[in-house]
């Protein structure tokens, strides 16, 4: 049963093969058993989940239920959940219990999904390996000496090991797609503004976007049907009507035009990864898609631009953690300055401090034009590059990452190399586009994801292509042996 997708679990509950309570017990048991080694949950909400499961069973019995009522899900610990602590992977928020639910959480609760717990993540979502978490690194279930990717590493690891059938993530520079690729699951980063950011602890406001991390594209579509849409509490969420994301899953992709950016297949790309992606593209061609070469000439500029814009916004967003109203406060502050300095010194980890420093610097008088304004200009250029490409193609395809999951500690002390591992993902955030990472093969038993990038609000098409691909491949069904 634990190998089931959301669709299968829904059927099982509907046909009364299993009750929600049994289902939750099954997953909680797996969580408790494996969390010690994987460390993918910061909090497991066992009691609350079981209580909700019993309510769900009652609802199902009374006929008042939704498709996913009583089905478990893991929530990234960046989403505020009233009554359960929201740490964002930071000592700063180790004691923080939000008095409100994030819009995404509220929508999932209303849909009847049951939270199993809060998943581990890089501190404040800053990291590509999940090693910056105050709660320790998450392990990759395919090889526990390797990272699961980040920042949504806990969610990716949990779904890959089937400790939860699905999870949520957030993606600022690749934080859904990269860990999905490293862990062999499906992860969708929606168009900026498609999913509400209200209640999602901010890292870089103009880049952050929440989305589903699932076993299949079909499951991702089910989640999108719940979480997508305008939110009056988020001015940057769009009023554009949502699609029915499951409706087009079975459309034929015959005649689909796929653009392959030269810059995604150059010397930065691991040869073995290139081969996996090429095989994946062949499958799509067999389904009737046509591949053409395209140019995204400013791809390399995306990393420096991203590492100006994101830290700039983060330096401001994280100013509220000052030890005054909530979160970590140092002991016996001498004065106001001491309260600020020590609370932040003690509460934040190294990578977060590095980004706050960088961001403060690029916004400073005298540097603002040279860094922040320039980065914004590059951002516009990168968006235009995509716009031009989408004049001629329906989607863009390429690798999600330059290589497979790396070893723990391999890049921890080399931030530049860590940043460069986001090469194929960050430009999508800078442009605000949707993209999905789909399991496409293995290199030495380590999963590889293929990234499909869509035009604005083309989530339906992306999931349609991914679903068609998953109908003819089985990479997404593979489970690490230790968790079988």
């Amino acid at each position: 049963m634990y190998k089931s997708t959301l669709v299968q679990l829904s059927t099982a509950l509907e046909s009364k093969k299993i009750s929600s309570e049994e289902l939750i017990r099954l997953y909680i048991e797996r969580c408790n058993k494996h969390n010690n080694s994987l460390n993918c949950f910061i909090t497991i909400t066992e009691e609350e989940a079981l209580k909700k499961a019993r309510q769900a069973d009652k609802k199902r019995a009374s006929g008042d239920y939704n498709l996913l009522t009583g089905i478990p899900i893991a929530q990234k610990d960046i989403f505020c959940t009233s009554g359960t602590k929201t740490t964002c992977g930071s000592k700063m928020l180790d004691n923080f219990i939000a008095p409100y639910d994030a819009t995404l959480i509220k929508k999932m609760n209303n849909a009847g999904l049951i939270m199993l717990g809060k998943t581990n993540m890089d501190e404040f979502a800053m990291g590509s390996s999940n090693e910056t978490s105050f709660y320790g690194p998450v392990k990759n279930p395919w090889d526990e000496s390797r990272v699961p990717g980040g920042s949504s590493g806990g969610s990716a690891s949990a779904v890959a090991a089937r400790l939860s059938p699905a999870a949520t993530g957030t993606d600022t520079g690749g934080s859904i797609r990269q860990p999905s690729s490293f862990c062999g699951i499906t992860g969708l980063k929606p168009t900026y503004g498609r999913v509400s950011r209200y209640g999602m602890v901010a890292f870089a406001s103009s880049l952050d976007q929440g989305g589903p991390m699932t076993q299949t594209a079909e499951d991702a579509a089910l989640i999108m049907n719940i979480i997508a849409g305008f939110d009056e509490h988020d001015s940057t969420s769009t009023e554009k009507p949502t699609d029915n994301y499951t409706e087009k899953l079975n459309n034929s992709i015959k005649g689909l035009k796929i653009g392959l950016p030269k810059q995604y297949f150059d010397e930065n790309l691991d040869n073995n990864v290139a081969e996996v992606i090429e095989n994946g593209l062949k499958e799509l061609e067999k389904l009737g898609a046509k591949c053409v070469d395209v140019e995204l000439p400013h791809t390399e500029l995306s990393i420096p631009a991203y590492y100006v814009v994101a830290p700039a916004e983060c330096s401001s967003n994280l100013s509220r953690y000052d030890g005054v109203r909530f979160g970590h406060r140092c002991k016996e502050p001498k004065d106001l300055s001491d309260l600020y300095c020590r609370s932040r010194q003690e509460g934040f980890g190294k990578e977060v401090k590095r980004r706050i420093m960088t961001g403060t610097y690029v916004l400073s008088a005298g540097y603002y034009d040279a860094y922040y304004i320039k980065a914004q200009k590059i951002r516009q250029i990168i968006s235009n590059d995509f716009k031009n490409v989408f004049k001629n193609v329906d989607i863009i395809a390429g690798p999600t990452t330059t290589g497979v999951a790396f070893k723990l500690n391999e890049k921890l002390n080399d931030p530049i190399s860590m940043y460069l591992s986001d090469l194929y993902t960050v430009s999508v955030n800078l442009a605000g586009l949707p993209a999905i990472s789909v399991p496409s093969g293995f290199i030495n038993k380590l999963p590889v994801g293929m990234q499909l990038i869509g035009n604005y609000f083309q989530e339906s098409l992306l999931m349609n292509v991914a679903h068609q691909y998953q109908k003819v491949t089985d990479w997404h069904q593979k489970i690490p042996q230790a968790y079988e």
């Binding site: 929201t86 008095p99 001015s235 109203r325 106001l336 916004l363 922040y372």
Partner: protein, 485 residues
């Protein structure tokens, strides 16, 4: 170097007007003043992790209204920016404000200065921003208490050019803006509650010198009296500094009303680098011509136009017009009073006379006057139709003030109706003549130029007897007839 004999003062003002919206600028929390600390701060105002601001459209419309009223430019696109600095009563560690692309720029306002001369003051910009909370350093035994009820209140910061040359001009400008925002109904103007406060940038220079002197910014000014005193004090301080060979340092100074002095708060070196950047949580505000048109139609008759109308159409003096238009509450009261009787001059006299004296005595706002405009208007009408005399009206007014009812019922109850029945007045005169035979004799024998003294005496007696109710004009005519006849 010769000591300059003449100094010129240069003043620019930054006014913070709290916009009269029901809820805060970026959250749904209430803006009502005086609630228990931290009971009007929601998750957004507290800057909790994950919360996002949503602009209050009313605040946008009010800012546009102000911009249109001062003939300013309203851009098609206005942007919110973050002003980053740490302070305990600033929950997010940044204030949402505007930097580039403020909602109002390049407006003008005309003030009256010495000798009734007019002067144009340029308004550089007015931008929207959120207020911070309040720190209370006194009541917590070495600790600081933070009240975030005020955090997120909508402010319009109105920045003038350094166009004012003395404290009086500054006050004239401030009063003008104060009156304008109240007429526009975008700010209640309550200075005690901090809804209208001001920072002054002050510098001095020798009159003949072209470039401006080093300025200081005086903060913490919340009454016209203090502002004037603070500016005068600061000008004196700066001149003394320069004349004793020292220099003025660019700094922020706090005004202490108790000691009537300013003291240094922080110097330019200690000033924050606010690291402004566009707030990514808020979309740019798009302002169409259509919106401007709708807002323009909401602008009421403004004080200058009203003043001219009172003079030209109602025939009131400049003095009366100035007083009656000083604030919209008085003007509204006046205009409502006028509806009942149409006599502008009498209404003006009563409002600026008995009413204003009573209001001042009990420190009551005209809006809350126990004698409403309608009541006063009706009473004035009763003077005009001779139901009561002006003198009796004072008794009626006092009774109305003491909440004894409306004029007509008070007159009825107290039997104050003026006696206009000629035979009744005649009877009264006969009695008075009979009771004062000596005076009547003296009157008849005295020269013509002394007779008026006796007339006044007899009228006085008649009024006394009638308890003031006899119509004095009728009594006067009849008396003369009788005495001379």
């Amino acid at each position: 170097m010769n000591k300059p004999t003449e100094w010129e003062t240069v003043i620019g003002l930054e006014i913070h007007a709290q916009l009269a919206t029901k809820s805060k600028i970026f959250s749904g929390a209430s803006t009502i003043y005086g609630a228990k600390p931290n009971t009007q701060a929601c998750a957004v105002d507290l800057g909790l992790p994950g919360v996002l601001p949503v602009i209050n459209e009313q605040a946008i419309l009010m800012a546009i209204k102000f911009g249109l009223a001062i003939g300013a430019e309203i851009p098609e696109r206005s942007v919110f920016a973050r002003k980053n600095y740490f302070y305990p009563d600033l929950p997010k560690g940044y204030q949402i404000s505007q930097f580039e692309l403020p909602i109002v720029s390049n407006g003008l306002i005309e003030i009256v200065i010495e000798n009734k001369k007019k002067k144009i003051i340029k308004i550089t910009r007015a931008h929207l921003e959120e207020d911070a909370g309040k720190s209370n350093h006194d009541q917590f035994n070495g600790c600081t208490g933070i009240d975030l009820n005020r955090a997120g209140n909508p402010l319009l910061e109105i920045v003038s050019e350094p166009d004012m040359n003395n404290a009086k001009e500054a006050i004239s400008y401030l009063k003008k803006i104060h009156s304008l925002v109240r007429y526009l109904e975008i700010c209640d103007g309550n200075m005690q509650e901090g809804s209208f406060r001001c920072d002054a940038n002050v510098s001095v220079k020798p009159t003949q010198q072209k470039e401006l002197g080093t300025r200081t910014e005086i903060k913490n000014l919340n009454s016209f009296k203090f502002i004037e005193a603070a500016i005068n004090h600061e000008v004196e301080r700066q001149i003394n500094l320069i004349e004793s060979g020292k220099i003025v340092t660019q700094e922020t100074r706090l005004y202490d009303a108790n000691k009537n002095e300013t003291r240094s708060m922080r110097s330019k070196e200690e000033a924050n680098d606010y690291r402004y950047f566009p707030d990514p949580d808020l979309l740019p505000v798009l302002i169409t011509e259509e919106i401007k048109k709708i807002v323009r139609e909401l602008i009421p008759e403004l004080p200058d136009a009203k003043r001219m109308r009172y003079q030209n159409e109602l025939g009131l003096s400049e003095y009366d017009s100035d007083n009656l238009t000083a604030n919209p509450d008085i003007a509204n009261y006046f205009e409502t009073t006028m509806v009942a009787n149409g006599d502008a001059k009498m209404c003006a006299n009563w409002i600026m006379g008995d009413l204003s004296a009573s209001l001042n005595k009990e420190n009551i706002n005209i809006k809350n006057s126990p004698v409403t405009a309608k009541m006063l208007g009706d009473m004035i009408n009763l003077i005009k139709d001779k139901t009561i005399s002006g003198k009796i009206a004072k008794i009626v007014f006092e009774a109305m003030w003491n909440k004894e009812g409306e004029a007509i019922s008070i007159i009825e109850n107290k039997d104050l109706k003026q006696v206009t029945d000629l035979s009744e007045i005649e009877n009264l005169i006969d009695v008075i003549i009979a009771e004062n035979t000596i005076q009547v004799k003296q009157y008849k024998n005295c020269p013509a130029d002394k007779k008026q003294k006796f007339i006044s005496f007899f009228i006085g007696q008649i009024m006394k007897k009638s308890k003031g109710k006899a119509n004095p004009i009728q009594a006067n005519e009849l008396l003369k007839e009788k005495l001379n006849g």
